[in-house]
């Protein structure tokens, strides 16, 4: 637990009387040190061979059984796993922390492929609410539509939905890229803090409501802007990045990205002077 103490140096928030304490002490975050590589162990990961392929029919399994089976197959070195008959079950493919080709032949329910760090996932169907929540790295491609809270709190990686998504896409997003081929619902980018969201279609009301930072690109119509979300001019680097990203995502091949609307935070709602230096790094 970090210690709390008062400080002489006042930030803008402190001068407004919002708080007087600052956090000190050691962070609990562990950083990778190349000098200690041989001692470094990322718990729950496996060395897998992408050429070693297998199929798993989860029709008669609950999500816990299915996830344990996926873990078992990874421990045996399988690097390409095809999941048959997911049947809209919840929480499939969660917590995978190593490289893996994971293919779902069907649709997922809620919380599919959440908290992953590294795998490449393809869902040949639809996903329910909160797909890829807390994703750290990797690539997830959804061939059809997605539910609400798509990519909630993602930290990194690429999350692509070729169809339309529900409300609150990228809520609390902290990094990475979310790309939507169709339309997106209300509150897209709600309270997002980092990263980028690209919507080729229309978006609903309250776009980017209370966003702290990050960037949203919209190709279609915008229902309305949320609090503190403002339009910003497109730059050449935006256009180059969008072209590159859409090509990698295999989506919107002929889309004219130069006509997209760029939305960023107005930064009126929060005190940005109080950010830690490490927090001031640009979006991932």
């Amino acid at each position: 637990m970090a210690n709390l103490k008062t400080t002489e140096k006042k930030t803008k928030a402190q001068s407004m009387g919002l708080h007087t304490e600052v956090l000190t002490g050691k962070t609990q975050q562990k950083f990778f040190n190349p000098d200690e590589a041989e001692n470094f162990y990322y718990w729950g990961t496996y060395d897998v061979d992408f050429n070693k392929r297998t199929e798993l029919d989860v029709n008669d399994m609950d999500c816990k059984e299915a996830n344990k089976k996926i873990d078992e197959l990874m421990s045996q070195g399988y690097g390409t796993i095809v999941i048959k008959n997911p049947q809209g079950k919840h929480s499939l493919g969660v917590g995978i922390l190593n490289k893996l080709n994971l293919i779902f032949e069907g649709s997922l329910g809620y919380f599919g492929v959440g908290s992953i760090d590294g795998p490449t996932v393809r869902v040949n169907g639809r996903v329910g609410w909160s797909c890829a929540e807390n994703m750290m790295a990797g690539k997830v491609v959804i061939e059809k539509n997605a539910g609400s809270c798509f990519g909630a709190a993602v930290r990194g990686g690429d999350l692509i939905c070729k169809g339309s998504v529900g409300a609150r896409t990228g809520i609390d997003q902290k990094g990475g890229t979310i790309i939507i081929g169709g339309d997106a619902g209300a509150f897209t980018g709600f309270m997002m803090q980092r990263g980028r969201i690209v919507v080729l279609g229309n978006v609903g009301i309250n776009l980017g409501d209370s966003m702290y930072d990050g960037t949203i690109y919209v190709g279609g119509k915008i229902g309305s802007y949320g609090s503190d979300a403002i339009e910003s001019p497109m730059t050449k680097s935006d256009i180059d990045w969008l072209k590159r990203k859409l090509k990698v995502a295999e989506i919107g091949e002929n889309f004219d990205v130069s006509k997209m609307t760029k939305v960023v935070a107005g930064k009126k709602l929060w005190n940005y002077d109080a950010l830690e230096p490490t927090e001031k790094k640009g979006a991932i």
Partner: protein, 314 residues
């Protein structure tokens, strides 16, 4: 949390009792305090079907007070006499459980408001549904338990809506269970997932206009709200669109009539709904697994957007 499910076959009938049971059972993790069905069966359309209760289920988990079965018998006798006094005739009578009954009634006058007020003036008696196609069946327990208890598996019809309830706003009892009948309109029923925050304000206004509430469940407000709009000449769809601003809170609800099925989602899109739509079938539920129980093959589904209202005809 609660789960809702509904389906409508267009141009044909099907075993909707069994199908809805499968859909609701798939959602039982969203709540199994009580489960309710609103089934629109194939009938000749001659007589009214009245589902009513003369007491509560006082089984495990119930928040109701236990009563002697003789009290139920006494209430039933009064119901029978009132039906006769109203000029109606009981064609068929089924007492499925000591507290739950199903009557087929020949009632020419067709004034359901007067009829219902008379029947429900008996303390402890509540009409669960009244219509020429609609039958509302609701009781404590999960979908399978209720389906087995009431033999719903064989019911053939065109459409149905249902609800798996986790009690949060009111007691664990039949009167607070969904679906709610759109009293006093024949064949109108409602199920709801969410919370309504302006329940009491709306209730006071509607009660002053002569509308009736049987429970303190916020979801009942939707049925009464729509009934009041329709009483004043609005169509079902107009009433549903009006409800997006008239009802405050988070909600996804289904409403069904004799020939149609509709859905509405609040402007925050805070409550889930997955929808499958084809030329001959529309199926929808709080989660995709509900739809999967009737359509196991790979299908295209989607989430309706915020503030969306849709109505389908049979």
């Amino acid at each position: 949390m609660c789960g809702i499910a509904g389906l409508i076959h267009r141009g044909k009938s099907s075993n909707v009792g069994q199908e809805l049971q499968g859909m609701l059972q798939a959602l039982k993790h969203r709540g199994e305090d009580s489960t309710g069905y609103a089934l629109y069966g194939d009938t000749d359309g001659q007589n009214f079907i009245m589902r009513f209760k003369v007491g509560e289920n006082v089984g495990e988990g119930s928040s109701s007070v236990m009563e002697d079965v003789s009290v139920y018998d006494e209430r039933k006798k009064i119901v029978d006499s009132y039906i006769s006094q109203m000029g109606a005739k009981i064609i068929k009578e089924e007492r499925i459980l000591p507290y739950s009954l199903r009557y087929e009634i020949d009632y020419d006058k067709g004034d359901l408001l007067e009829f219902s007020q008379k029947i429900e003036s008996i303390p402890g008696v509540e009409i669960l549904s009244m219509g020429k196609s609609l039958e509302v069946i609701k009781d404590l327990g999960n979908a399978k338990a209720v389906c087995d208890r009431y033999n719903l598996g064989d019911l053939v019809g065109t459409h149905a809506i249902g609800h798996a309830r986790m009690a949060t706003e009111s007691g664990v009892d039949i009167k607070s269970a969904h679906p709610f009948w759109g009293y006093p309109f024949s064949d109108v029923s409602v199920v709801h997932n969410g919370q309504l925050t302006n329940y009491w304000n709306n209730r006071r206004i509607l009660e002053n206009k002569g509308m009736r509430f049987m429970s303190e469940c916020d979801s009942e407000l939707i049925a009464v709200y729509l009934a009041e709009k329709m009483r004043n000449g609005a169509t079902l769809e107009e009433g549903m669109k009006d409800s997006l601003s008239g009802l405050d809170g988070v909600f996804t609800y289904f409403v069904a009539t004799k020939n149609s099925l509709g859905m509405a989602k609040d402007t925050m899109a805070a409550k889930p709904l997955v929808l499958y739509e084809s030329d001959d079938l529309v199926a929808m539920g709080s989660e995709e697994i509900a739809i999967r129980s009737v359509l196991p093959q790979e299908i295209d589904t989607y989430d309706p957007f915020d503030g969306e209202v849709k109505v389908w005809q049979i």
